[in-house]
């Protein structure tokens, strides 16, 4: 009994179980309160004092570093936040929350390979960690490795009871990018059932339906996307092209005209006009438009090069 009391007392004075001594922990609690109150700069100052006060680096608390990183993130200083997480990982290399923070931050910074490494380490410790699984899925999608991304999503879905529609949409997108339109459509329909207000979900649904050779249904989905985001030019140009594809030249021209009314310099809308005029037999007008586009379009752009080639 005496022995246990002695050990506990020793723990309180010098950092039992890797935590700071009780008196010091009060400083952590204060820093946390500052963070929660939105005083991030104050949290940074207090946490920096708190962390570096102890010379024994193994006693530096992972949770303090994590809060420091989060505070830096709130102050829009991601590189400092990352430094905090990485420094903490030197002392706590298997700390999953820290690995997840670093993985996420690397991902947001576009450093995909480093993010993959962090999530890999997190999954080595906790193979069922859904955040790491979803993170890896997103990373491999970024790299264009869709089959691997899908495998991570499969694990993620198997472990997650209530999946956010955003994840379903991302999953659907991996099928779309592999031209598995049927699966893409199934999963985006599930996402839309959860959240029908997201315009890009409708766009994915439209693309899946186009791939399934359902042009009218695809156009209807695209209309839904336009309805939700009337300022998105990409939906409108896409619609104009799809109308051209199915031979509805008049409607395609009307859509192109609507785009040009808002953005008179839109090169793609002008190209679409020329393509439609060609089909309607207005060859002179089409050729004139193409020649103008070829001369004036952004150098080496696909639009300019297509116009140039068609104007010959």
């Amino acid at each position: 009994m005496v022995c246990i009391s002695t050990i506990l007392l020793a723990g309180c004075s010098s950092g039992f179980l890797g935590l700071a001594p009780l008196g010091d922990r009060k400083e952590y609690v204060q820093a946390k309160s500052a963070y929660e109150a939105g005083n991030y700069q104050s949290a940074v100052t207090q946490l920096t004092d708190y962390i570096y006060k102890t010379k024994n680096v193994t006693r530096r608390e992972a949770r303090a570093y994590r809060l420091l990183g989060r505070s830096y993130e709130q102050l829009n200083q991601p590189s400092r936040a990352l430094e905090a997480y990485l420094e903490a990982l030197e002392f706590h290399p298997k700390n999953v929350p820290l690995l997840l923070e670093a993985g996420r931050l690397y991902q947001e910074s576009g450093l995909t390979a480093r993010s993959i490494e962090m999530y890999e380490r997190a999954l080595a410790e906790d193979p069922a960690n859904t955040q790491a699984l979803a993170g890896q899925a997103a990373n491999y999608s970024t790299l264009g490795f869709y089959s691997k991304a899908r495998a991570f999503y499969d694990q993620f879905f198997a472990l997650t009871a209530e999946v956010l529609p955003e994840y379903r949409a991302r999953y659907a997108n991996t099928f779309l990018r592999q031209r598995d339109y049927e699966q893409a459509f199934i999963h985006i329909t599930l996402a839309l059932a959860q959240d029908p207000t997201e315009e890009d979900f409708w766009r994915i649904s439209a693309e899946a339906r186009r791939g399934l050779h359902m042009p009218q249904a695809a156009l209807a989905d695209l209309d839904a996307a336009i309805l939700l985001a009337p300022s998105r030019t990409d939906f409108k140009t896409q619609k104009a092209l799809w109308l051209y594809e199915i031979g509805e030249y008049k409607s395609s021209l009307q859509t192109a005209a609507e785009i040009l009314a808002q953005k008179p310099d839109n090169e793609l809308a002008r190209l679409i006009q020329a393509l439609n005029w060609q089909k309607q037999g207005k060859t002179k007008a089409a050729q004139k438009q193409l020649a103008q586009l070829a001369a004036g379009a952004t150098p080496n752009s696909l639009i300019g090069q297509v116009a140039q080639q068609l104007s010959r």
Partner: protein
């Protein structure tokens, strides 16, 4: 009817839900996606014939699996394939109809024992006392396990691969007969494995004479050629064994051949696989992932190039 209901529901929700701010695609992306879909749906006889040349490169050559993953996902039609050495292995399996997910599995199965029966004490005995190099005989068995004992004529996509006859120094191009032994000859590394005796020839790796078979693909009738290359990395690894020195000499020659052959291709995907030795089979998957990244990074550029090449077939006045 169901669609009208979906739209109705959407309009009701619109009244109180703000549209989320998401990134808008550029006009270039919209046009590319549209034209690309039009292109990949054209029948093969209504568009240019597309060929793929896969370079040699040992384990680095596994990057071609990554290339194929990206090209297949994008729907790039591959009508002709030619490969050398590791390029021959990957190319033949793909031409035989093996899907890319199966190709990835090879990275965990391919070992020296799958290539040679002589990587054991008896093999060392043979090498020291009979002065014979190990044989690559097991590669043919490994290959037959993947595709069955098939002929070039059975392949789903026309395919060729090259080897070199050490007696004459000639390039020997295979496009008919049994597939496995031809592929084995094409990746039969000189100085590492004993030459393959086939059709009255003594055959070694085709990389010595045809590191990047662009010409072969052209002769097969391809109008547009994509080359996937895995140039040697001279800086991150230093040869330490006799075999490694021999392979390095081959790589130096290969680098020069790549440069010349790549100029004849319409599009070159350069897989920079560093810190991977020619025979480090445990790094196959790593090389493959580099292939994915490289091909994905240049996919839009490749699509634009193909679209402009085939524009007259896509847009008809």
């Amino acid at each position: 009817m169901r669609h009208t209901l979906r739209l109705l529901l959407l309009m009701l929700l619109l009244a109180h839900t703000p549209a989320a701010a998401l990134s808008e695609r550029t006009d270039e992306e919209v046009l590319r996606n549209f034209l690309w879909q039009e292109f990949i749906e054209l029948p093969a006889d209504a568009r240019p014939t597309i060929g793929l040349a896969l370079s040699a490169g040992g384990v680095r050559g596994f990057a071609h699996v990554g290339t194929l993953e990206v090209l297949t996902n994008a729907g790039v039609p591959i009508d002709r394939v030619s490969g050398t050495s590791m390029g021959a292995v990957i190319g033949a399996l793909y031409a035989g109809g093996l899907p890319t997910e199966k190709l990835w599995e090879i990275s965990s199965h391919l070992s020296m024992r799958n290539i040679s029966p002589d990587f054991n004490v008896m093999g060392l005995w043979r090498f020291l006392f009979a002065k014979k190099l190990p044989s690559s005989a097991n590669l043919a068995d490994f290959f037959n396990k993947q595709l069955g004992d098939i002929q070039f004529e059975d392949l789903k996509i026309p395919f060729t691969c090259a080897a070199m006859d050490v007696k004459t120094g000639e390039r020997v191009l295979f496009n008919s007969g049994p597939l496995a032994i031809a592929v084995r000859a094409s990746m039969n590394l000189p100085g590492v494995f004993e030459p393959v005796e086939y059709r009255h020839r003594l055959l070694v790796d085709g990389a010595v004479v045809d590191y990047l078979p662009v010409e072969s693909v052209k002769k097969m009738g391809a109008d547009y050629i994509i080359a996937s290359i895995t140039p040697p990395d001279f800086f991150s690894t230093t040869p330490k064994t006799v075999a490694a020195y021999l392979l390095r000499v081959g790589d130096v020659r290969g680098a020069a051949m790549i440069e010349e052959a790549a100029q004849k291709a319409d599009f070159v995907l350069t897989n920079r696989v560093v810190d991977v030795g020619t025979l480090e089979l445990d790094k196959l998957h790593k090389a493959g992932e580099i292939g994915v990244v490289e091909a994905h990074q240049h996919l839009e550029e490749l699509q634009d190039s193909i679209l402009l090449f085939a524009l007259d077939d896509i847009i008809k006045p």
